[in-house]
Amino acid sequence: MSSVIQQGLMITLIGMGLVFLVIIFLWWLMGLLVKVTTKAEVSVEEPEPAAISETRVPEMAAIEQLRRAAAAAVSVGLTIEARSARRRQVKTQADGGMSPWQSVHRAQQLEQHNRRG
């Protein structure tokens, strides 16, 4: 095996190894971050807790409900209409590269802006 191929294999080994190492570190960091910031919000009573601790649970629940509602609608036979409605919905999300969470977030942001403004 030529030396350059050996180099290549070496780089592959180190490169992919480091990628996984960094990613695993990020995994740990993300878990830690979520845990710490969530705890911080529960324990510390900050001056403006509403503004900062605003979590996304309710919205997520809402969307989950929406999803379930759509599913139920389908199951009772409104398949085609619901499907097209859903598709439109999914398409809309897709177009702007926005998840439902993002759009909820946006709405929140707008609302907050209004509240502030």
Binding site: I5, V22, I23, L29, M30, A51, S53, M60, A94, S99
Partner: protein, 371 residues
Amino acid sequence: MNFSYLLAEIMTGFTSFTWGNAVMILAGVVLIFLAVVKEYEPVLLLPIGFGCIMANIGMSTDAGFMKVIYDAGIKTELFPLLIFVGVGAMIDFSPLLSQPKMVLLGAAGQFGIYGTLLLALLLGFPMNEAASIGVIGAIDGPTAIFVGSRLAPELLAPIAVAAYSYMSLIPIIQPPIMKLMTTRKERMIRMDYSPRPISRLTLVIFPIFVTIVVSLVAPDAAPLIASLMLGNLLRESLVVDRLSKSAQNEMINIATLFLGLAIGATMKAASFLNVQTLMILALGLFAFILDTVAGLLFGKLMSVLSGGKINPLIGASGISAFPMAGRLSAKMAQDEDFENFILMHAMGANTAGQLGSVIAGGLLLALVTGL
């Protein structure tokens, strides 16, 4: 007064035109056709196609205004970075933050980089060129341009064209591999989505942390990750809506338009039409396939380890290609079972792939420079 000389001057357009130019113009027209009729990533394919036509009727990046744009935006690396600021402002990391293990899929989707690098070495490319070709497997335009322009600027044209063209062809490239490598039962796995709540504080700290960590670990990727995370911070801070909107609109639009034109304008027949380019295009396709295969295999592994609670399709989203790959995985699952809604998981894997690509690109740059 020399009439024949005047005539020659008038005819330069025709006399300097070659068959190669005609072929490249046709290639440009095909790219525009894909953009306009098939609507594959038109925002990029259309400018690249038009730039390609321009390059072959006298307006390449060798001189004139396309050189001005190329020097101002590609050589300085500003265009890919400006685009990343805009992309960052469009990314929502909360699906990823609420299910952190998804981040692993972003590592798996980088095998294509090294597989392609090795294959390119076998085909005789020197290391710097092989690495540049491999980075097509990052499946991320700005990363490919950033790394490519540092390691092998002479190959930037085919690398960028391959990266962007195949990215726009993902809805054609990935599905057969997905069907081949997963069973119907696997594709029908439903995933529960009851994520941990993500606070605004988390979302603000995350981009800052990632910038610091990745910049220390892979300093060569620092500008890329910093741009991406700056955009994300503008978005998540909620206090600079004006800047966030500018980044997502005017800035990314204009940078994309000129990036596409400048990339296209490097596709002059004289330097583009050769066997090397064909090899790079083939290697690029190989990189895309390998990335998808690796991602799916890792998805299957995670599926098994989780006791069948993970749909392996989301592995294919880990290749980056944000946000097309994420959407596609979700669509494939829904095609099997209309009730199967895995978009959130796929987007988590997809944003992880975006991070993974930048990290892998930066590490590759460091390793090859360090040799």
